[in-house]
């Protein structure tokens, strides 16, 4: 089906090849999970399948990549469109037409599929992905999950033999992600489509994989059965880490399998109380008080009268599905966003009534796309500019802040060339330069791998320990379980749940982390807690 024959890919300005001497053979009807850390070359590997690498991205490809006996060297992506369908991270960026139906038909039109056949396939695909009610809807009106399903449907209609999905759920909330992944597994089982899937949040997909392709990060690629591959992989979901810790063999990949072998573990820690992630100072007066905050855009009410207190040395996770008002609330609290009515007070002042400079000295916000704040050529220039902007703030120079957040980011690099995690650290450093007591992070976990998330957790805990109030909006339950002291769940602009992480997260299956599902009724949330409990039991 897909063959990589001694493939080495080198980008023009890179010192070393991204992929080195890769040999792969993928059979028909397999669901292959591509795992690896950020920058290990997952996207490059996926792009090489239909020739986008190197036809579109540049660089050189040595060796041969063949799909259904077609060599990508002589077949550009458009000539492989009938064999390989590609879905990217941002479905909106790849839409060519306006409505669901037209988008589904577009690929077939390019392949000159006769009109009656097109009609039939569009109807079938609408039903297969549950899109029939949306057929005339404008694409940009759909929710993220619906958009991603349309994007998958749009590449399915030409009946490709291979489906390549590059992090299809990274922008989705847990429910929408489930929706998309369920659709993908159904395709594999019903149609026998070969699927290549890259995904950061492995806990969602690992149970469906037939095969795992692991990119070590040095250009080498190994592949094998999931259970054997995860025993040693550099990235692993919590269920695997727990399995490794407990020494289960074969390694369970789903909550169900893990639960069946976890009885002895549950027994051994049944009496242990999970330690709280970090010790906290007793709560003093809240740093930020928000009262009856209402945000509306025309007829749409995004935030409906929310009251919220943020205390010092507190990490709060803001959860809720896409469009539930998380971002609007963060922006309203910072003072730069819209706020129809309500009151926000930090240090006795409302940031909305202050100058931008005074407002950011009270509340710092890292937006969803941190790159929006970057406009200079080098990291050093950005840091210098931040020192100028925050002149007089009681804080160390931005460079020192950055080194503390993420060491080893060189001065002369262009901010666009940084990895997601490094860029996040840079923007956070710029915002921290103003020494705000309240720090808000809007979806910082997007596109971060497990290691990057781990360092983000460390940063967040350090910030809180310095006496700040930290708010993180995120969809990532595993991250929340490890990072947050408190969880606030929003739905349709209202707070539906607010309480300590363990209480809120365990209460609903959608928000429960894998460890808690495996070890219920014990209230363990993270592997670290289990490690500590086991250590204590042993000593």
């Amino acid at each position: 089906m897909i063959d990589f024959d001694r493939v080495t890919i080198t980008y023009s300005d890179a010192p070393a090849p991204v992929l080195r001497d890769v040999n792969l053979h993928i059979d028909e009807g397999e669901l292959c999970l591509v795992v690896g850390r950020t920058g290990a070359g997952k996207s490059t590997l996926l792009g090489a399948v239909n020739g986008l690498v190197p036809h579109f991205t540049g660089g050189t490809l040595e060796g041969r990549v063949t799909v259904e006996r077609r060599d990508t060297a002589s077949f550009p992506p458009r000539e492989l469109a009938d064999v390989v369908g590609v879905v990217g991270q941002d479905p909106l960026a790849g839409f060519v037409t306006d409505t669901v139906e037209e988008e589904l038909a577009y690929g077939m039109e390019q392949l000159a599929v006769p009109a009656p056949v097109m009609r039939k396939r569009v109807e079938e695909t609408l039903d297969l992905l549950g899109l029939a009610d949306l057929r005339y809807r404008a694409l940009h009106e759909l929710s993220g999950g619906q958009q991603q399903r349309v994007a998958i449907g749009a590449v399915l209609t030409p009946h490709p033999r291979v489906l390549v999905l590059d992090e299809p759920t990274s922008a989705l909330d847990p429910t929408a992600a489930e929706e998309v992944l369920a659709a993908i597994t159904r395709l594999v089982h019903d149609l026998g489509v070969t699927v290549l899937l890259a995904e950061h949040r492995l806990e969602r997909v690992v149970q469906y994989a037939d095969r795992v392709i692991h990119l070590a990060g040095d250009g080498t690629v190994t592949d094998g059965a999931p259970a054997s591959m995860f025993a040693t992989s550099t990235v692993a979901p919590p269920v695997v880490e727990l399995g490794r810790l407990a020494g289960w063999s074969p390694l369970p990949l789903s909550v169900r399998d893990a639960r069946r072998v976890a009885a002895p573990l549950r027994e051994s820690i049944a009496r242990a109380q999970p330690v709280v992630a970090r010790a906290r100072a007793s709560a003093a007066a809240p740093l930020l008080r928000a009262r009856n905050v209402i945000v509306r855009y025309g007829d749409v009410v995004a935030v409906r009268g929310i009251d919220l207190d943020l205390g010092a040395d507190e990490v709060t996770a803001l959860m809720g599905r896409n469009g539930s008002g998380k971002s609007s609330l963060l922006w309203a609290m910072q003072g730069s966003g819209k706020r129809q009515s309500g009151l926000v007070q930090v240090d006795g002042k409302d940031p909305k009534n202050l100058s931008a400079r005074a407002a950011r000295a009270l509340v710092g916000l890292v937006p969803q796309t941190p790159a929006d704040l970057l406009y200079l050529e080098t990291v050093a220039a950005e840091l210098e500019q931040a020192d100028v902007e925050s002149h007089g703030a009681r804080s160390v120079p931005a460079r020192e802040i950055l080194d503390r957040l993420a060491s080893g980011i060189p001065d002369d690099v262009h901010p666009r060339d940084l990895s997601e995690g490094q860029r996040l650290a840079l923007v956070l450093a710029l915002q921290l330069r103003a020494a705000p007591p309240v720090v808000l992070l809007d979806e910082p976990t997007r596109g971060l791998d497990y290691n990057a998330k781990r360092s983000l957790i460390r940063i967040v805990h350090e910030l809180a320990a310095e006496g700040r109030a930290v708010v993180i909006s995120t969809h990532d339950v595993e991250f929340v379980a490890a990072a947050a002291d408190r969880v606030v769940v929003l739905a349709d602009g209202d707070i539906v749940a607010d309480g300590p992480t363990a209480d809120v997260v365990v209460a609903s299956p959608a928000y429960a982390p894998q460890v808690s599902k495996i070890l219920a009724p014990s209230r363990f949330l993270t592997v670290e807690q289990v490690v500590i409990a086991l250590d204590r039991a042993a000593s």
Partner: protein
């Protein structure tokens, strides 16, 4: 399902909603535009605007591009305002007996520049005549806006022959990326406050422009990559030479058509620019079409049919244009009234009827399909019948080359 259909038919309209062929709307709108070019009579121009507004209000869909008509109207108002302001500032003189409304301070221009006058008295006559002039341009803009609001621009581009397909897709990319650009400008402008950078000057412009442009570039590349991997631009069986000849024929033909249209629309253009250029252009385009048609590698999902309503709508536009063209000699003074001396514009009968006739399109075109309206019911009711959801391998699938 029949009962649903019948109930719907009786309650809402006797006709099945569907979208009209985009070319029919474009012919209609261009016909009106040609008519507008023949007159500066504000009554007639306002009538054209009213007709255009009437048809758009009755026959546009709810798609985002269809909601843009109000922006064209706003642009028209701006054009009128600009025209009046320019006429007032660059004083064009006051005729004897004009009604002076106010005087702007007059600025003496140097002798080598004495052709231009700045300031001076502003007369009611000059203002009215400038407004009428602006109204003509504004109405033209609204005619084009109506075509854009009534006909899906992307569907309209699909009627482009294969040889010009590449051109069409460039437009599609810009149409898709433009609204996203607006969105990212808003996002970055809002984010800029977070850094409290300078709010004015070159640096402020840069801090918005650079993230926005990088974003736009990235999106364009993503879209281009997505289109490529979905089979856009597949070569098909045509040779490189035949594609080049087709493209050359089409481009030359289109140039001829443009020049001809200019010649016909602009009364002062030389005569040979009009009909002969249009005919030559059309001939070249036809040749290109025939040649390009040989390499059809695409098919159309739900091709727009061309039926009686299309003929009527296109006919309305053409009739309006022809009637106004013909009446240019009959009622030249009424079509282009002067405001000096001040007097009411006349309402010449033939042009009025011609313009009103264009409103027939509002009735002749089938009602547009609304995504949330009842006609989606029939599709939801069909759903359980095919709910099995298996995609059988299709025998008609294009053969895979070995």
């Amino acid at each position: 399902m029949t009962t649903v259909t019948r109930a719907y038919a009786v309650s809402d309209s006797r006709r099945v909603p569907r979208t009209l062929h985009p070319v029919a709307w474009w012919v209609w709108a261009l016909g009106l535009a040609v008519a507008v070019n023949r007159t500066t009579n504000p009554l007639l121009l306002l009538l054209v605007l009213a007709v255009v507004g009437f048809v758009v209000a009755n026959r546009r869909t709810e798609a985002p591009w269809a909601r843009a008509f109000k922006y064209y109207l706003a642009l028209a108002v701006v054009v009128i305002g600009l025209r009046v302001v320019f006429r007032s500032v660059f004083g064009s003189g006051v005729a004897l007996g004009d009604h002076i409304m106010f005087r702007l301070p007059s600025i003496a221009t140097p002798s080598w520049y004495s052709g231009v006058r700045l300031g001076g008295p502003v007369s009611l006559e000059a203002t009215l005549s400038a407004a009428a002039d602006g109204l003509r341009l504004g109405t033209l803009i609204c005619c084009i806006g109506a075509a854009n609001a009534l006909a899906n621009p992307k569907r309209a581009l699909r009627v482009l022959p294969g040889a010009l397909y590449e051109l069409g897709v460039a437009v599609v990319v810009s149409i898709s990326v433009a609204p996203q650009l607006v969105e990212s400008v808003q996002r970055v402008a809002r984010a800029r406050r977070l850094r409290a950078g300078r709010s004015k000057g070159l640096r402020a412009l840069r801090s918005v422009a650079i993230p926005v442009l990088e974003d736009a570039l990235e999106r364009s590349l993503l879209l281009a990559a997505a289109m490529d991997s979905r089979g856009y631009g597949r070569a098909g069986p045509a040779t490189r030479a035949s594609r080049r000849i087709t493209a050359a024929l089409m481009v030359t033909g289109m140039l001829g058509l443009c020049a001809g249209a200019y010649g016909l629309l602009d009364g002062t253009a030389p005569r040979y620019l009009g009909l002969p250029a249009i005919l030559a252009g059309a001939a070249l385009c036809c040749a290109g079409l025939v040649l390009g048609g040989r390499r059809v590698t695409r098919s159309h999902y739900r091709p727009d049919p061309w039926r009686a309503p299309e003929w009527i709508v296109a006919g309305c536009g053409i009739t309006t244009a022809v009637l106004l063209y013909a009446s240019t000699r009959l009622s030249a003074a009424d079509l282009n009234p002067t405001f000096s001396p001040l007097h009411f514009p006349a309402l010449p009968i033939v042009p009025t009827i011609a313009i009103l006739f264009a409103a027939v399109a509002g009735f002749a075109a089938p009602p547009p399909r609304h995504p949330h309206r009842p006609d989606s019911r029939e599709y939801t009711s069909r759903r359980p019948e095919v709910a099995d959801g298996t995609l059988e391998p299709d025998p008609a699938r294009a053969p895979v080359p070995a």
